[in-house]
């Protein structure tokens, strides 16, 4: 199997900010909904943020940005700072793999991540009595004190790999679809292999309407955004709009 570089193109003109991707992500990854969590302390590997063109009244326009780990390819900031080597870039898939089992919870990576896409487990996961029966097999629960982030639904990649091995063939793209991609009701989130020139996602990523957040930092994120609205594209760099939401700390 030749090395893949899994990435996404998220069409912001299609994103309605419904939040289906957030709930599907939490469900797939066995993330609890703890009553004591807040916007600062919650665990949302997929988080949709609302942005606006800063105008009021009938001139106001809003858009929604689904934010998750960008799976940076070059000088990956979190990988560089981790004292435990609890995160590394997978050569075979391009996924930035977070290992909660190795993490000691120093949270240096949370500081390093330019996209605030990493979340700290403040509490041990727990569910109301009986709800553990609804946990997704193939994804282990993490304890408190470690950092988590999007791993591109690795359990689904595992299933796809097993299926491919049993059938003695390569992975079928239809077998590996991350939860957020599957959940989006408008098909705004597209997932594919950026190493494959024929992949529709690769072609979309090269469109003039496609952009990446904070591209000037040079981390080469593999999640692209796309919009025909110029004001949305302008938000890709800081100083374009005031921070209007609580940042995870």
């Amino acid at each position: 199997m030749s090395a893949a570089r899994y990435g996404m193109v998220i069409d912001l003109d299609r994103c309605t900010g419904c939040g289906s991707c957030m709930v599907a992500c939490a469900s797939e990854n066995n993330i609890p909904a703890l009553p004591q969590a807040t916007a600062r302390t919650g665990l949302t590997p997929m988080l949709v943020r609302r942005v606006s063109n800063s105008k009021q009244g009938s001139e106001r326009r809003e858009a929604f940005f689904p934010i998750m780990c960008m799976h940076c390819e070059h000088e990956t900031p979190c990988v560089k700072v981790c004292p435990q080597q609890a995160v590394e870039v997978d050569k075979a898939t391009g996924v930035v793999m977070q290992m909660p089992q190795r993490c000691l919870g120093c949270r240096y990576c949370m500081t390093a991540c330019p996209y605030h896409a990493r979340y700290f487990n403040w509490w041990d996961p727990s569910w109301p009595a009986g709800m553990e029966k609804s946990l997704n097999p193939g994804v282990s629960s993490r304890m408190r004190g470690v950092v988590e982030k999007c791993n591109l639904c690795h359990a689904r990649l595992h299933s796809a790999m097993e299926k491919a091995a049993a059938g003695k063939r390569e992975i079928d793209a239809a077998d590996y679809i991350p939860a957020c991609v599957e959940a989006c009701p408008t098909g705004a989130i597209q997932f594919g292999n950026l190493a494959d020139a024929n992949d529709p996602v690769t072609k979309e990523s090269k469109s003039p309407e496609s952009f990446r957040l904070l591209a000037r930092l040079g981390t080469e994120p593999k999640v692209y955004y796309k919009s025909k609205e110029a004001w949305v594209r302008a938000l890709a760099e800081p100083n374009a709009a005031p921070a209007s939401e609580v940042q995870h700390g």
Binding site: D13, G17, M22, N30, T44, P125, K133, S159
Partner: protein, 556 residues
Amino acid sequence: MKFSRRDLLMWGAGAAAGLMVTPVPWKILDDTSKWSQNWPWIPQAARVPVEFKQSACTLCPNGCGLRVRMAAGWPVGVAGANTHPISRGALCPLAFGAHQLNWHPKRLRAVSRRGIASSWNEAQGAFAKARGEGPIVVIDGYPGRAASSLLESFAAKQGGSYRVVNGPEVQALEPYEQWTGVPASSLGYDLENTQTILSFGAPLLDGWGMPGRFTRLWAERAAGITDPQLRLIQVDSSLSRTASRAWQWISIREGSESALASGLARAFVEQKLVPAHGPIPAMTLAEAAGQTGLQAQEIADLARTLIERTPAVVIARENNPAVAALNIVLGSVGTRGGIVRRSQSKQGHVSAEDAIQSARAVLIDASVPWDFTPKVDAEVFRFAAWDGGPTKADWLLPAPGFLEELTDVPSAPTASVETYGIAQKLAKPSAEVQSAAQFLARLDSSLDSLEKIIQTRCQQLFRKGAGTLHAREQSPVAQLASAEELEEQLRNGAVWVGEPSRADGLRAELKLWPDAGPSTRSADWASDWAAPVLPPLASKLYIESALRQVPERRNA
């Protein structure tokens, strides 16, 4: 010789030195690290195989197709079913966490009477007694199911009445009942063939109708396209999600929808944009402008825009006759791309909001919204799967939760074609539960069972020979071998779709322009969700993020 302290220290030093060259400290370190990585109080999913089953969501009357991940006999994940011809694999955000609802802390697990624990036997006894003493009113929040048929039969046999609670989408079609003689539950919008939609506050991209139907249509034909095939014009007093994605957002003062509708009707007639037929509103364009906060010219421009690309259809958020009347002016009732007749059924149902003369007892099905209170003084038997908070009901009866009972799925309220499906039971109820239909069937054994009613419906479908079965492949019903095969496929997640509605045969007559309707209340995003509680993971949307507002109806 005495064993001195020095001896002890020497002995200890020897022991310590020796310990270093035994496996003890190194093995304990390694084993402790494993022990500390696997705290027993952190639940882990069992290592069990996963299989996929299809069913349908019953948490609102749309019945989106579900593809459920099952592990060891329990649902562990929910996704949309790509084979469903209308929802096309999409769901609302709440559905993705619905498989955890059955263990929600507010799950009703035991019969109670005014807060005191009781039993099913006592409830049956009390209801049987009530039945003998006076008329029973049965209230249904999800009409059209096999269970609904059972509820209705019971009420009829007993000399009581059967009432329905309709959601706002059906309520928005109620004005047409009077004008066409066709019940609102038989009407739908032919969105697939329309080119311009004027929505008065209807959250088309955020939970209106079957979530996938319009979102997929819009994504294909309008999203990100400068000159789209499908123009969505959203009228909203604030920038809702639908308004922010719409082709055009018309910002009006809150509560002035009727004024805008009247102004538009005026503009149509004055500018001769439509063939003049029917009544004209009394309101002038200037008056409409004053009330809505728009300029008269803007209203006139909007009228012109509406007929630029036809067919055009107007969709109201709820029952607003002035907005509904616009469709008559546009000629969009009974035409392609407009309001169409989905079903030939002439059977309408009486609304539960209508006055109830008298009742000895009221039986409320679990599908009725929690905050519905019958306007009659009677003993109330309330079925529900979750506790929605303080209630005036006398009896609280635990009903089956999510995917805990076999039920069928009638056509979605705003659809333009008839559909039928079966939602198979996928989870074992975690409490002793009964649905209202089962409860009544136990009292009156002459009523057909749910399974029998579903079987009869499948037989009728098969006999008619019309329509197509949508599963991995599509097969015309005429080519199926038997009614049993049809039912088997439906139970496994296939969906029957009827023939597309013929645009003719629906005629609307409007004598007088309607009075101003009620002001559209801004809809809470979770207000149409049937269960009184939200799935726990939905809290990620409003507690652990700033994406959505805390819904009013949320209960814990």
